[in-house]
Subunit: 102 residues, 2 copies
């Protein structure tokens, strides 16, 4: 029940390392496909797949499946809400960090 003085609580959905990596990569580009995300984040396919599903369910990313060169292609982009929540998360972290430098 005790709320911290300034709210230090972090959104687990975003804070989780794997997803934070995905979201951060996504926020530097307009969109990215599965393979690119896998290489940049270092996640295994399985992890990446399940994280993407969670992010999609939370409306943080939009996923478009199609075929490119006859191969399945999964394209991922942040939703506006996702972009905003990631930005807010970094602010939250910044706030937390400032505590330690004062």
């Amino acid at each position: 029940m005790p709320e911290p003085d300034g709210d230090l609580s972090l959104d687990r959905l975003i804070h989780e390392p794997g997803r934070l990596a995905i979201l951060t990569v996504l926020s530097s580009v307009t969109d990215a496909d599965f393979v690119f995300l896998q290489r940049t984040t270092g996640l295994t396919k399985g992890n990446l797949s399940s994280h993407l599903t969670k992010l999609e369910n939370a409306d943080l990313v939009e996923i478009v499946k199609s075929f490119v060169h006859k191969k399945p292609n999964t394209n991922v982009a942040l939703t506006p809400e996702g972009r905003e929540r990631v930005a807010r998360h970094w602010e939250q972290l910044e706030r937390l960090r400032r505590l330690s430098k004062s």
Copy 2:
């Protein structure tokens, strides 16, 4: 298997919100007692207790128990190693964040 290009991996032990809060608070003071940490982090006693145990096992904090005014008192301080690893963690986060702002 695949390592990311630049290492984006985050230390779960430190990254976990509850512990990150504890460690960050601790890095702004020389030491703190249980009740102070509970108030500043907003964690429940149970959480705080188990997080502290983990941090102690990992040698990130040192815990000294004593009695103050006849009451049990738990005093916590970062170890040198803890201090360094927390600092490194924030650098790691900063590196990750820069990806998204380039």
